[in-house]
Subunit: 347 residues, 2 copies
């Protein structure tokens, strides 16, 4: 690590417009509080989990299935997309009235309450309790990504759904309540706040420079790996140590339009990145999130809307500074994290 040679620096990124403080010295501070265990209580291989509703054979204990892979019910399933049994948003409530086509900008600011209409689904990535996403072959990861995309396309049909947040929680410290490998998605009746601020920031950059924030990164120092269709980088102003972004090299606004071929490319790169994090950081808890464009974005916004997948290992707890200011403190410089991950071999 080039730690000694680098000095404290504040950086702002061109996607979220967030300031991050890079401070190698912070990693040396002592503690007299036992920090919560950052490693994931991963299931022991082969250990039977008779009480897990996501395991093959226990389908009846789950909320209704939406679809399965393969669709042919005479074959065993490899992936199931099901309703969340404890949904945050509920598909059985009255959806909000569809807004007039260009009323969006006009929405009154201030306090508002609407019925909690929406969709909350779970993607069970494998029938086996002890298989992690990156244990699947690249084709298996591809199929999970294609299942996300297929479900997002279904939700996009609903006139009241404005956005779908696809995400994965792995490990208790990343929020997971279920150990069996799965991910989730929420279809919301509003555009979530971070999506709005991301697009606003990318628009500002575009208006000034004529460039898309994510087409435009050039530094080789933050690159981990490249495939024909995707780049994996540690972002220039990463909020978290060893954060990774996987970005389509072509300018594309919507994740859910991905095709088989690109999904295999992405599946293989995602598998490698998760293997690298697992190896380097000893199977850390992590989240990943797909950042796509809200549905029905006007064509004038497409030139700066570029989707990507963000992976965040959860190595420490954030505190009041981050909660209050929205500004993060990261002890590891992106160039150092990228070098480590780039040079790590996984096979």
């Amino acid at each position: 690590m080039a730690e000694a040679s680098r000095t404290t620096e504040a950086r702002r990124d061109a996607v979220f417009g967030r300031w991050v403080v890079f401070s190698p010295a912070r990693s040396r501070r002592p503690t007299d509080l036992k920090s919560h265990n950052p490693t994931n209580p991963s299931p022991a291989a082969g250990e039977p989990r008779p009480s897990c509703p996501f395991c093959a054979g226990r389908e009846s204990e789950c909320a209704p299935q939406i679809f399965r892979v393969p669709p042919d019910g005479s074959l065993p399933w490899r992936i199931r997309v099901i309703e969340n049994l404890y949904p945050a948003l509920r598909r059985d409530l009255e959806p909000p009235p569809a807004a007039a086509p260009d009323a969006e900008e006009e929405e009154e600011p201030g306090e508002r309450a609407v019925p909690g209409f929406g969709f909350h689904d779970v993607v069970i990535e494998t029938p086996s309790h002890d298989v992690r996403l990156w244990d699947l072959p690249a084709e298996g990861v591809r199929d999970v990504l294609l299942a996300y995309a297929a479900r997002v396309r279904q939700l996009a049909e609903h006139p009241a759904v404005k956005y779908v947040q696809v995400f994965k929680n792995h490990g208790a410290s990343a929020g997971a309540s279920m150990a069996h490998s799965h991910s989730q998605m929420l279809g919301t009746p509003f555009v979530p706040p971070s999506v709005t601020s991301r697009l606003n920031c990318m628009k500002e950059v575009f208006d000034r420079s004529g460039n898309c924030s994510l087409c435009d990164f050039r530094s080789k120092d933050i690159l981990i790996s490249e495939t024909p269709n995707f780049s994996a980088i540690v972002p220039f102003a990463a909020s978290y140590p060893f954060e990774i972004w996987i970005i389509p090299r072509q300018h594309l606004s919507y994740f859910h339009e991905i095709d088989q071929h690109k999904a295999l490319d992405l599946g293989s790169l995602l598998k490698t990145m998760l293997q690298k994090l697992s190896k380097q950081l000893n199977d850390p808890p992590f989240n990943f999130m797909i950042h796509s464009a809200p549905f029905g974005l006007s064509s004038s916004c497409l030139p700066y809307a570029h989707w990507f997948l963000q992976i965040v290992p959860q190595l420490s707890v954030i505190g009041g500074f981050e909660l209050g200011s929205g500004c993060y403190i990261n002890p590891v410089f992106p160039e150092d994290a990228a070098k480590i991950l780039r040079e790590l071999s996984c096979s």
Copy 2:
């Protein structure tokens, strides 16, 4: 709890403009992962901590002192404001050149890196290892608040400091690395992202309605307690269960202008709120943050800038949905939390 009678609802607040999903059903979901221990490993009363540099008698193991209370060195200290030994931002770096008076709006968007100049201080709230902030008498809490304000006033003098984030971490799951009761503040050379988005949201509300978002709340259902100068509420769209905001009843933009009299009022209310949280939630880890206005705000912004103190108990880990969307899921309705906290007696 009126849980059964309430149905899922999405709410947006008038301060941050964030959507929060209220979903009582979520609190019933099972878990097969041991979630990290949410309770705070609080020090046993009277337990000696010979290795704690924040304890009386170990001042020489700390970074330099900025000031103490009382100032008279022949008396024992009750509060010390010191430099952070592992600062995230460093006072010894070159400050960024002061911007032209009204250049702020013009700042180029996009990637940026600046030296990590700034101030990072620690406020040791008591000389005793086993005394928590709310164990102090109201006058003691007042003096801590006055120490924050005095230090913020000093930092406000520096032309390169744009904002000071005052915050407290209590308990390992709230990020604390030191158990001895303390808080911190960071003086930043930029306006942090959440401060900008808070002011933008409050401006929009003001431009539409002519009202300040925080002067304007009327519902008695979310009120916990009132004093002559402050209201304690569970905000209408609280992101976290049992989140509390303490708001000056008079329209005031800057925390650091607080006087002795109001500081005693606030100290007493803060003490009561921390006691209530401790009693109701069994000494939970928590953070509090003071949300004030950036320095040198133009006078046209003052009518909608209203400072407040936010207390957030850390009862669960957030996951990929929150990280990705900026939207929170809260299983406890603010009206229910406010009722519980209102009716809880502390003495």
